[in-house]
Amino acid sequence: MSSAATVHSLWTTAAEIPDKIPAPHIEYGQLAPTLIVFGAALVGILLEAFLPRRARYHAQLLLSLVGLAAAFAAVIGLAAGGYATDKARIAAMGAVAVDGPALFLQGAILLVSLVAVFTFAERRLDPRAHGKRVDSFAAQAGAVPGGAAEQAAVKAGFTTTEVFPILLFAVGGMLVFPAANDLLTLFVALEVFSLPLYVLCALARRQRLLSQESAVKYFLLGAFSSAFLLFGVALLYGYAGTVTYSGIAEVVDGTVRNVTPALAGTMGNDALLLIGSAMVLVGLLFKVGAVPFHMWTPDVYQGAPTPVTGFMAAATKVAAFGALLRLLYVVLPGMRWDWRPVMWGVAIVTMLAGAIVAVTQTDVKRMLAYSSIAHAGFILAGVLAATPDGVSSVLFYLAAYSFVTLGAFAVVTLVRDAGGEATHLSKWAGLGRRSPLTAAVFAVFLLAFAGIPLTSGFSGKFAVFQAAAGGGAGELVVVGVIASAIAAFFYIRVIVLMFFSEPRPEGPTVAVPSPLTMTAIALGVAVTVALGVAPQYFLDLAGQAGVFVR
């Protein structure tokens, strides 16, 4: 043996033939909804690359609808196969849970997205540009607003059909978000649905600077919150030595079986646990739009193209609350006494701040933004119940609320004047006299937001408040009804404006939409009334879906 070889053997050793790396075991069937949506999104990108421009719109629309419908069918199939109840399980090597809440929320997200696609595809509201029908999205996103490139793009009749695959990617991320069963999947899903949303926000056809500003704000604040979430994940990993939900829950509960020396060293460190879970919660509360992490909501809601706002307001809320529920009920039930007081405060501040600030708004979209904050507070009251009732009531509320929101924003796209959508409230004066049907439909949505009986808003509000009262949060219920009374004031004010004010001579007109938007609005009204008058079936559904797998 040469000296060089001797020396070499000091720090190397002959490698053994490596074991075959085990392929991860993936239950493709149980992940089908997500996979279908992502698949459709990828195909959409290929269409964008290879189809001629004029064929893209119809191909993309068809693909999105078919993809979402197929994914919804897959969810129904899974639920019918018992995966929501007795066959609930963890899939994809512990990364994704397939259980009642996950399937319910995925179904809700898919339905909402399906309706949102209708509003995305609307092409009759904007006046024709150079003889071609246009939608709400910029002709060419890359062109400088007001520049020559933009004019050329408009003249050439370009449309941003990329919005459909982008939407599908966002939906895919949202499907994973409430089902994520480890913190890393949670983070990845968050990014997967956030990034497409940032892009979508920047794509408005009119008032592009406002739209781009809103996208930048959303992106910057969203990046902050993602960083918080990621840092929290790291701290929790440091605490528990694992990122899986059940693993962390065991350490928190103290039921963990084999305590390694490393774990023994960290699991006594409550600072890691508390700071870590607080930071993860901050990330989620940001997405939910709870005070004090709500600052982005009004600006983004106002600046984003209205169909995107509707989709974002409805679907993001569903996904984010789903993730929040799972985190609090699966990972941190052992810390209930630590997070409940904090969340109490957040819920109260959110309800009151959302309702009070909304009173002073003069823009419909901003008003709906603050109203969404108040509603986040109501839902948090249900989350706080920390009972199975709490889960099912929150699920029900989310389903009911998302359709009302989507419908309301769809109505907002109809009311237009020369500058595009007329979102300033003063322009809505007398709308009820000019086009009674539109105003009546919007009034139905506003009454549902206000929680008037016989609308879905009331059933939902009753469900969450009842769960909160049952979970020992009676004071929250009182604050909740006070906030509801304040909120009722500004919803009613819009109804007053629409029906009892004289129309302005140069006021906006109500555009006649294509069947696409009509379907979206009609569905919104139908769901609002159905869930208000006969909510039992859906409450049952939500009740059966109320158990998390662990």
């Binding site: 009820g432 006299r433 000019r434 086009s435 009674p436 009454l447 008037i452 009986p453 016989l454 009331f458 059933s459 009753f462 469900a463 408040f465 009842q466 009262a469 049952g470 009676g474 219920v477 009182v478 909740g480 009804v481 006070i482 509801s484 009374a485 009722a488 004031f489 009613i492 004010r493 007053v496 029906f499 009892f500 004010s501 004289e502 006969a534 909510p535 039992q536 409450l539 049952d540 009740g543």
Partner: protein, 558 residues
């Protein structure tokens, strides 16, 4: 269960469903066929009246507490059932509601015509693409349906839903259909500015009405949820059934902590006190009644507000008997303030409709006083008062509406000497006014007397103070009559036509009814009294033994 579920024809549901159907049908009438819409609405209201009369006839005063009951599952998750049932009080009030609506529709026949009607209103220039006439009558029928079902509901949740939902059509009635007369206060040529000012006032009144009642309702929502949580805790399964809760409380299965019961009671009572309205929550009523048309004002005070006082009897007392006793002194004082304060302000009013509104506040004080005196006479009188106040206020207010529509002003000072020009109008106005001040021989006298007697037997001092309300009532009614109807004939009034046939058809039956019930109230008391006895037995209060009798005996023994 002390009820027999009616397996046959769902009469109660039908009584509420007919006006609801009527509302839909009326709203669907094409824009050009306004008159058809009116007749359709009238037909549906008469059909409702017929059904209400069937309910009245089939009701057996001595029978079960809740009769003609219906019960179906509705929202099992919340323990909510679709439960209907009527006791004597409800039967009387349903009959009152069904009786008044046809008159309200007839009286408002021209109130919602899109252009200037036959009256002096100058509303030309409004070009609505909507159908106000159809909407007006459809909304009235919708309110009727919701009021009727509120009277019938024996499930707290069901009651709450319609108690709240009622606000929406009422809100549109107040805000959307103002007084035709208002602009004519100004010169007829410059009606535009007056119109706008009136619209602003009206919108303010509608919003005030809605916010007051919505706030009350939401507080009640918290109490309703609290009730559910309590029953879910104690009974295993949460329930809203009034009878089930009352039974569970009687048998001791459901044991409310004193503090909880009081809080829940306050939550319920707050909503009803806003609706009734009780001082100091009354301020929405004068605005709402002043700005709306006379028929809608009647609808508010004679029909909708009765739901508040009715609910105090049915829900507050029966669900929370202990807390009711606890709160009685405070409520009695508040109702006393209502009586005197309402009457004093009525004396000082310059606006006819606001005067009637404040008079109503005073009368609602009497009703609440009677309810919480917790004696048979008191509560029987209060129930009777609800019916009689409905009829008498309807008579007075509708005639006042006819008067206002002729002159185009609500101000008392604008009238004078009307009785020389329009004697029939003045005569009916006088009878309505005399009924309001409870002249013996007219229906309200019986009820007011009973309330005062019932109160006096337990709380003599309060009874004495309440009597001042009657004195003040004489003052505001007679002064109103004197200023408007007597004296020299004013120029603007000189060519005022007397009551037309349609208007006579509205007023005459009401006056006949006032006279009949004033002389012979027995049919009504027979229906009401068993229900009142039952309520009192739940509250566990008995009439105080008269301590006059023993004294006499001892005197005699000497």
């Amino acid at each position: 269960m002390s009820q027999v579920v009616n397996a046959g024809f769902p009469l109660l549901t039908a009584t509420a469903a007919v006006p609801a159907l009527g509302a839909v049908a009326t709203a669907a009438v094409p824009a050009a066929r306004r008159t058809a819409a009116k007749w359709l609405a009238l037909a549906f209201s008469l059909a409702t009246l017929a059904l209400a009369l069937v309910v009245l006839v089939r009701f057996e005063p001595g029978g079960e507490q809740y009769q003609m009951a219906e019960s179906h599952a509705w929202i099992a998750d919340f323990g909510v059932r679709y439960e209907l049932g009527v006791d004597g009080i409800a039967v009387a009030l349903i009959a009152l509601t069904a009786l008044l609506i046809p008159f309200i529709i007839l009286a408002g026949w021209h109130d919602a015509d899109p252009l200037a009607g036959s009256d002096s209103g100058s509303d030309a220039g409004r070009s609505y693409s909507w159908r106000p006439t159809q909407g007006f009558f459809a909304l009235i029928l919708m309110v009727e349906a919701m009021v009727v079902i509120s009277f019938e509901a024996t499930d707290v949740f069901l009651f709450y839903v319609f108690f709240e939902a009622m606000l929406i059509p009422m809100y549109f009635l107040i805000g959307g259909f103002g007084d035709r007369a208002a602009p004519a206060q100004f010169a007829a040529g410059t009606a535009g500015g007056g119109d706008e000012a009136a619209a602003t006032q009206r919108s303010y009144a509608a919003v005030k009405f809605l916010l007051y009642n919505l706030a009350g309702g939401l507080i009640m929502l918290a109490a309703v949820i609290g009730l559910y949580a309590v029953t879910a805790d104690d009974l295993g399964q949460g329930t809203f059934s009034l009878q089930q809760i009352v039974q569970a409380r009687a048998s001791g299965d459901l044991d409310l902590a004193t503090g909880t019961e009081r809080l829940l009671f306050l939550g319920f009572f707050f909503a009803f006190a806003v609706k009734a309205p009780l001082w100091p929550l009354h301020t929405w009523l004068p605005n709402a009644m002043g700005e709306s048309t006379a028929p809608v004002a009647v609808l508010i005070t004679a029909v909708v507000d009765k739901v508040g006082t009715f609910a105090m009897l049915r829900f507050c007392l029966q669900l929370f008997p202990e807390a009711s006793k606890w709160a009685t002194p405070a409520i009695l004082v508040l109702s006393l303030i209502s009586i005197v304060y309402g009457a004093l302000l009525a004396v000082g009013q310059r606006d006819i409709k606001r005067l009637v509104a404040y008079a109503s506040i005073s009368h609602f004080g009497f009703i609440i006083l009677g309810i919480f005196a917790m004696t048979t006479q008191g509560q029987g009188g209060a129930t009777l008062y609800m019916v009689n106040h409905g009829i008498s206020t309807a008579a007075l207010m509708l005639v006042a509406g006819f008067l206002i529509s002729r002159r185009g002003s609500r101000l008392i000072a604008d009238y004078g000497g009307v009785q020389k020009v329009a004697p029939v109008l003045a005569g009916t106005f006088l009878i309505g006014g005399l009924a309001t001040l409870s002249l013996p021989g007219l229906a309200p006298f019986v009820s007011e007397f009973l309330v005062l007697v019932g109160t006096f037997s337990r709380y003599p001092v309060i009874g004495i103070i309440a009597t001042f309300g009657i004195v003040l009532a004489a003052l505001y009614v007679l002064v109103l009559y004197q200023r408007t109807m007597t004296g020299p004939v004013k120029d603007e009034v000189r060519h005022m036509p007397d009551l037309r046939i349609r208007e006579l058809v509205v007023v005459a039956p009401l006056i006949a009814l006032l006279l009949f019930l004033g002389v012979y109230p027995k049919p009504l008391t027979d229906i009401v009294n068993p229900a009142v006895d039952h309520t009192l037995s739940v509250v566990d209060r008995h009439d105080p033994k008269s301590d006059v009798e023993p004294v006499r005996e001892t005197e005699a023994a000497k």
